[in-house]
């Protein structure tokens, strides 16, 4: 498993293992279709790595004003 948040390439075998761990029964066709989407999602998420959030807590919009 690649480190969270990195854009390192994910293999189909790794995706299959992750899906099985989640209880998802995905076919080979499913995995082939999903792999580029998961990969591009990881690339977008990796862009967050440069954000200056050392002292920033998660946003909570569930508050009363």
């Amino acid at each position: 498993m690649t480190p969270s948040g990195s854009a390192a390439l994910l293999s189909k075998d790794a995706l299959r293992a992750l899906a099985q761990a989640q209880g998802l029964a995905l076919s080979e066709v499913d995995l082939e279709g999903l792999l580029p989407l998961v990969q591009s999602g990881r690339t977008v998420l990796a862009e967050l790595a440069g954000a200056p959030i050392d002292d920033v807590e998660p946003t909570s919009l569930y508050h009363m004003l």
């Binding site: 969270s4 994910l10 995706l15 989407l37 862009e47 959030i53 919009l61």
Partner: protein, 472 residues
């Protein structure tokens, strides 16, 4: 009868209240038009003809009996089919909920009903609201009324709302907006729509896509009608813990037509600079018009926007997967293929990445707050392109080929992440006759100023009054 389907919601309410027209006539005129056009437009999933006629007769009786009338008394509305309606199926645009009949109304449905609105039916949408094109393999993809010759997208996910209001099949509709789903179809269909501040309008009884990004709002043919509809919907709801207890202002009273002294921040970097040429020119011209009305304009920059794609991807993927996980595991084949794939992506995003998105989200929100400390509203294009053909995967933007889906949401999703109110207002047409929208973004809970700017602009322009070439 033709004029009734093009009358504003305010005008219809006035005509009904003064007995100049019966709500029965108003409702029947819209039902007749739905029957005539919706076989092609596919804007409705469920038409509630009998219930609407019955409600119209009751509304007529209330007028005759001189009862106190609500601000939308006798005015028809359409509801995106993710709002629960007691006793009427609510599909979410999906096969999975194809026969689901809720036991109670969504709060906004109840409030619109209490204001006197009459529901014509449930409107088509991208399945479970997860797509900015507004496609639907189960119920058919709505047809953008502005191009009768070519099947173009309405924008989504509130595509049925966009088609129906633009084509005169209802004067106003409920949309919902998680990444732009009110503003994108408003832009592509030539409508005015507003995503209110997060917490301004209850989400109770609305099928969620992503709880912390979902917003409920109106789509109409003018800012004045949006003000009327929003006023009937907004306010604290004990069924939705995220709603604000702040009082709801009288939005209609805020529409003074005046913008003299108003300070506009024009978003060039990230927004205007990357829009298609027709969109850029239309928005620049609209800003000049507002300047001519007495507003001052200066360029402003939101540096953190570069993170908006990552923030929304982290949040929407995990929250949507969490809602759909059980169905994906047991009824996965019943989803449309595009939505199923998109939902499954959330299974592979870690908790740490989700929280990183929520942490960076704070930077976005704080920066928008900070910039809005120096100006009253921000202006940007709503969408960088016009309505694309259904099935197109790429679109040309100033000579660059870009994928359609991320292009559509690029300018709208930042304000789902920040939670600020944002409206789309018609501001021109392409050479092909397709609508262009301008986005007006305001301070948190200051929908009144957003609507005032939109209304002032519409008092001196006629983009919002033009009708699609449907032959009637």
């Amino acid at each position: 009868m033709a004029d009734l389907v093009w009358a504003s919601m305010g005008e219809l309410a006035r005509l009904v209240a003064t007995k100049a027209v019966s709500p029965v006539e108003v409702v029947q005129a819209h039902l007749d038009r739905i029957a005539a056009l919706d076989g092609t437009l596919k804007s409705y999933i469920t038409v509630m003809g009998d219930a609407a006629r019955q409600a119209a007769k009751a509304a007529e009786a209330a007028v005759t009996a001189r009862e106190t009338l609500g601000p939308l008394h006798g005015v028809p509305v359409g509801l995106k089919d993710l709002y629960c309606t007691k006793g009427v199926r609510t599909t979410g645009g999906s096969r999975i909920l194809g026969d689901w009949i809720p036991a109670e109304d969504a709060t906004v449905v109840s409030r619109l009903g209490a204001a006197g609105a009459i529901t014509l039916g449930k409107l088509n949408m991208h399945e479970f609201a997860y797509g900015p094109e507004g496609l639907n393999v189960r119920y058919g993809t709505p047809w953008n009324p502005w191009d009768p010759a070519t099947h173009r997208i309405c924008g989504g996910s509130s595509s049925g709302s966009g088609a129906a209001v633009a084509a005169g099949l209802c004067p106003g509709a409920l949309g919902s907006d998680t990444g732009g789903s009110i503003r994108i179809p408003s832009s592509l269909c030539g409508l005015t729509g507003i995503k209110p501040t997060y917490g301004r309008v209850s989400r109770a009884g609305a099928l969620p896509l992503a709880w912390s990004l979902d917003h409920v709002g109106p789509m109409c043919r003018s800012a004045a009608d949006c003000a009327l509809m929003l006023g009937a919907m907004a306010g604290y709801d004990p069924r939705d813990p995220s709603t604000s207890a702040l009082p709801v202002p009288e939005y209609a009273a805020a529409l003074t037509g005046q913008v003299k002294g108003l300070r506009i921040g024009l978003l060039r970097q990230f927004f205007l600079e990357t829009a298609g040429a027709p969109q850029r020119q239309a928005v620049e011209q609209a800003v000049k018009t507002l300047e001519g009305l007495g507003a001052s304009v200066r360029d402003v920059t939101l540096e953190q926007m570069k993170y908006s794609a990552g923030v929304v991807a982290a949040v929407i993927s995990v929250e949507s997967y969490a809602y759909h996980e059980a169905w994906l595991k047991t009824r996965g084949a019943e989803y449309g293929p595009d939505v199923r794939e998109r939902l499954l992506v959330g299974a592979f995003v870690s908790g740490a990445d989700y929280l990183k998105g929520q942490r960076v989200r704070r930077l976005l929100r704080d920066e928008v707050d900070q910039v809005l400390g120096g100006v009253d509203v921000l202006i940007a294009p709503t969408v960088p392109v016009a309505a694309t053909e259904v099935g197109a995967r790429e679109v040309d933007v100033n000579g660059r080929r870009e994928p359609v889906r991320p292009s559509l949401i690029r300018y709208t999703r930042p304000f789902n992440a920040s939670g600020h109110p944002a409206a789309s207002v018609p501001c021109g047409f392409t050479a092909d006759g397709l609508p262009i929208g301008m986005q007006v973004i305001g301070r948190s809970f200051d929908e009144a100023t957003v609507l005032r700017v939109a209304d002032a602009y519409q008092r001196v322009t006629d983009w919002h009054t033009r009708r699609p070439p449907l032959g009637a």
